[in-house]
């Protein structure tokens, strides 16, 4: 009995030592490559951003199973900036200085990106930004894997013009930077297409607006004046639900006045009563419902990883998938995680996207993406009604007078040999990155 006990203890000690030895061996085997994940896990943006953190963990996990990168395992460093914009900058600094991450995947709102940008440029580190945004930016240190306005807003308007024969436009948005810039671009675009000033109605509402009666009544009146009308919605977050409800209650169907939204995706639809939304449109570069083997595989993997059969996939997730795969390829091509070498290798990288095409990283740090228009179905999924071939992302909109002559090219081909994100083709000057 006594002996038995001693034996057990010895065994325990030996096995512990073995375990320790093994782990120290692993350490000695070459340290890991650290990847920063900078998404809010608490606060208002947690709903959307937590999913992206999980996506990154899944991708890193998968890459490690394949043997990692450059023979080293990847290690995710997850931090929580808590939907607090200044905290994003602090956490980014921590990731780069303390954790020495090779690259960071993160941010959702434009304001958080603007907050971390100076940090990434100062410390010369890489950020992969996965969400559709208002454009007017191209940083040497940021790869924009979401859509620029010409890859979402403008094709959506084109679709409505052509298919829906829409002549009058309501540009409705929440009152902050993304809707205001997008609407400015759209207004200029519509005017360039010969739409009259009085056929455009612009309306802004506060965050979380819930009393839509008079605005919807105005839209109804505006749409009842003989010309086919559509609403282009940059309404953000949960204000959408009462908006669509009010449309339904006032008897406006998607056939009368279709609403095309840029911020309503599978994840947003998964928690709400979708009846009033059926038939309305959304424009993205990816839909979960796209029939494609790569997509099927990804959905299966995601459901298995989250152990939840009801989880949905969405557009920013696809952006992370593309961004991560490109980064892995670029690192392997550069045989290093050095920022400048990887950034150089990133340009021109091609990776299959999840909708059956190929995403290519352009010299302006934006991707080529197909534009998909989908109609909302009762089950919260989208039926694709239009798909364009891949569109190259344009960092500086051609429809705003201030940015018409600006180009970004980090290879320097179009910018007089000097890599520049803000090159004026008229004055032939690179004015450097300007932050608003």
């Amino acid at each position: 009995m006594f002996l038995n006990n001693v034996f057990k203890r010895t065994l325990l000690v030996v096995s512990m030592a073995a375990a320790l030895g093994a782990s120290s061996l692993a350490m000695a085997d070459g340290d890991t490559i650290k990847v920063g994940v900078l998404h809010s896990l608490s606060g208002t943006m947690a709903i959307s951003e937590t999913t992206l953190k999980d996506t990154m963990l899944m991708l890193i996990d998968e890459q490690n199973k394949k043997g990692g990168v450059l023979g080293k395992k990847l290690e995710a460093v997850v931090v929580d900036p808590a939907s607090n914009w200044p905290l994003f900058a602090e956490k980014a600094r921590d990731l780069i200085e303390k954790d020495k991450v090779a690259a960071t995947f993160g941010c959702w709102t434009s304001v958080s990106r603007k907050s971390v940008l100076p940090v990434f440029e100062e410390k010369n580190s890489l950020l992969f930004y996965p969400v559709q945004y208002e454009g007017e930016e191209s940083s040497k240190n940021v790869f924009y894997t979401g859509a620029a306005p010409n890859q979402q807003a403008i094709p959506a308007v084109d679709y409505l013009m052509k298919e829906g024969e829409v002549k009058r436009w309501v540009l409705a948005g929440t009152d902050y930077v993304y809707p205001r810039t997008t609407n400015k671009i759209l207004e200029a675009y519509l005017k360039s297409k010969g739409v009259d000033e009085k056929d455009i109605m612009i309306n802004y509402t506060p965050f979380g607006h819930s009393d839509w009666q008079s605005i919807v009544a105005d839209i109804k009146k505006f749409g009842g004046e003989g010309k086919k009308t559509a609403v282009v919605s940059t309404i953000n977050g949960d204000a959408n639900v009462p908006f669509y409800k009010e449309l339904g209650n006032q008897g406006i169907s998607a056939e009368d006045i279709p609403v095309v939204a840029f911020s309503v995706g599978e994840e947003e639809l998964s928690g709400i009563d979708t009846k009033p939304l059926v038939g309305h449109l959304a424009a993205w570069n990816y839909f979960m419902s796209v029939e494609n083997d790569g997509n099927k595989e990804f959905i299966k993997q995601w459901k298995a990883y989250t152990k939840n059969d009801k989880r949905v996939t969405n557009d920013p997730m696809e952006a992370h998938v593309i961004g991560f795969k490109m980064w892995v390829k670029a690192v392997e091509q550069a045989k290093s995680t050095d920022t400048d070498k990887v950034a150089e290798a990133m340009i021109g990288q091609e990776v299959p996207n999840l909708t059956g095409g190929t995403a290519k990283m352009l010299p302006n740090h934006h991707l080529t993406k197909p534009v998909l228009i989908g109609e909302i179905q009762a089950d919260g999924q989208f039926e694709v009604v239009s798909k364009t071939p891949e569109v190259p992302g344009d960092a500086w909109s051609d429809f705003l007078p201030d940015s018409k002559n600006i180009v970004a090219d980090w290879t320097g081909k179009e910018t007089d040999g000097k890599p520049c994100g803000n090159f004026n083709t008229e004055t032939k000057k690179c004015s450097g990155q300007k932050y608003e």
Binding site: T205, Q213, G226, D238, K245, G271
Partner: protein, 520 residues
């Protein structure tokens, strides 16, 4: 023997059933067969051609197919190419859905309308006639005239004559155009107004003038109804404010407790609605009748709990109460986040609360808002009755006016405090049920209403229920009158500025308490 026979019969039957679908497909009429390859192309233009083909044929057999196309239930057999209607979405792999989009569906709806103008059901006829109004061609006009003679239903008759009058506006004969304009004067249908607007530039000055006059009369009437609409919007926004504030009018107004957790009590009521709907998923139409008392009990009980454990120790110390209840509000929010979900939860509208009451083409009142205005008045009346005409109400008023004297008269003031707070909280829960029908139900629901609630109570005059009602409704109307003119963001700011100025002038609100009841 018998068994074997039965078995054979069963086998035969199943074989027959199996054979039947292809048989049905072969029976498709000639036009349908013609349309099939067009559907097969899976392009919106080709589908449109197919719909044209079916619509022109006047083939009644086509109607169910077009209807299925509208409802997204029309499929094509991948191998055989035949059209299949699958009602329950039970399609399997061999079927491919025929894609549609909004403009195509609109087109199909018009085609179905044309085909079902002689449908036996007057409701269907009315729908199809209304769908045709703006697209009546001269060829169709003849058909419509024939139908009008046979028509018995007055509403359908009206719609048909409206469509004919609209068609007559294109007539070459000036007299016909003039009579058409005359018959259209005062008609509020938006199509009429647009059509008349184009007529004002008619080559014939007499016709143009007549069109202008008809248009002016229409616009005057429309403007009048526009004001009625604004008033209704204002009242409905106001009734939401009153509902949110009326519980506070009791806890803050009557008891003097600054309850920052009031919003969260509203949120609890909204979540109760959600839970009730989860428990009775097949009876959503009745769920609200269960949710109202349930929410009253849940929020009321929570209110009593808060009062007994926290607030009663802090009477007479408003600052501490404010901080303590603010803490409670955070606790309640986090509780909901942890227990239910940090995301918004879906609460459905019962069918009787969806849609709108159409008074005429320019004025329609949405049912959900209409019921909430009525509900608000009902809650107000009930509360008023409780405070005026019941024993509890008498004790509440006695304690709030003079606690020491009430106690001397034998009122158990501690118990009355708890019940009053419970009543105010319960009413907040009931307000939550109403709000769940209008806005998102999430952990932050309460926060968006707490400021509005205090605003209404202070503006109306602390301690006065009537003040709360009048203040809430008038703030709603003012907000909605300002909104089209100033925009939603600025309108809200203007209202706040107005209240600040008003409170400067009359610190005790609209209806200040007078006499000894005013206390302090």
């Amino acid at each position: 023997m018998l068994k074997t026979y039965d078995f054979t019969r069963l086998l035969l039957l199943s074989v027959l059933l199996w054979v039947c679908p292809p048989l049905q497909a072969e029976q498709q009429s000639a036009t349908l067969t013609q349309a099939v390859p067009l559907f097969q192309a899976a392009s919106f233009d080709k589908t449109r051609e197919a719909v044209d083909l079916l619509a022109v044929s006047g083939d009644a057999e086509a109607v169910p197919y077009l209807q299925a196309l509208l409802d997204g239930q029309l499929y094509q057999h991948k191998a055989q190419g035949t059209l299949v209607i699958a009602k329950d979405g039970n399609t399997g792999d061999e079927l491919r859905k025929i894609p549609t989009n909004n403009s195509l569906r609109k087109y199909v709806r018009a085609a179905v309308g044309q085909l079902s103008l002689s449908h036996p059901d007057a409701v269907v006829r009315l729908k199809s006639a209304n769908g045709l109004l703006e697209t009546v061609t001269p060829e169709m006009a003849a058909q419509l005239r024939g139908l009008l003679d046979k028509e018995t239903d007055s509403a359908v008759k009206e719609a048909l004559s409206l469509g004919l009058a609209m068609a007559d506006l294109n007539a070459a004969d000036k007299a016909v155009r003039l009579t058409a304009i005359e018959s259209l004067a005062g008609n509020l249908h938006p199509g009429v107004r647009n059509r008349l607007t184009t007529m004002t530039t008619d080559s014939d000055t007499e016709v143009a003038k007549a069109a202008q006059e008809a248009l002016r009369s229409i616009e005057d009437t429309a403007a009048l109804y526009g004001h009625v609409e604004t008033l209704f919007f204002g009242l409905s926004l106001g009734s939401v404010l009153v509902l949110a504030a009326i519980g506070l009018a009791i806890t803050f107004g009557v008891m003097g407790v600054i309850n920052m957790a009031h919003g969260e009590l509203i949120m609890l009521g909204a979540y109760t609605t959600y839970i009730v709907q989860q428990l009775m998923p097949h009876a959503i139409d009745y769920s609200l009748f269960v949710a109202v008392p349930a929410a009253f009990i849940v929020s009321g009980a929570m209110g009593i709990l808060i009062e007994r454990t926290v607030i009663r120790h802090l009477y007479g110390r408003p600052l501490e109460t404010l901080l303590a209840t603010f803490g409670i509000s955070l606790i309640l929010q986090q509780l909901v986040r942890t227990v239910i979900s940090p995301q918004n939860v879906p609460v459905s509208n019962p069918s009787w609360m969806s849609g709108s009451l159409e008074i005429n083409s320019v004025l329609s009142l949405t049912y959900n808002r209409l019921y909430i205005v009525l509900f608000c008045l009902l809650v107000f009346a009930l509360l008023y009755f409780v405070l005026r005409n019941t024993n509890l109400g008498l004790q509440v008023r006695a304690v709030s006016q003079n606690r020491a004297m009430a106690r001397a008269m034998g009122v158990r003031s501690a118990r009355v405090d708890a019940l009053t707070f419970g009543l105010g909280s319960g009413i907040a829960g009931v307000a939550g049920v109403a709000l769940s029908q209008l806005t998102n139900v999430g952990p932050n629901l309460g926060q968006s209403y707490i400021i509005d609630s205090f605003m209404v109570v202070v503006f109306g005059g602390v301690g006065n229920l009537w003040g709360t009602l009048v203040a809430g409704l008038s703030l709603g109307v003012v907000n909605k009158v300002l909104e089209p003119w100033a925009g939603a963001v600025l309108a809200k700011i203007l209202v706040l500025v107005f209240i600040i100025l008003f409170i400067q002038k009359r610190p005790r609100g609209l209806f200040p308490q007078k006499g000894r009841a005013a206390g302090d």
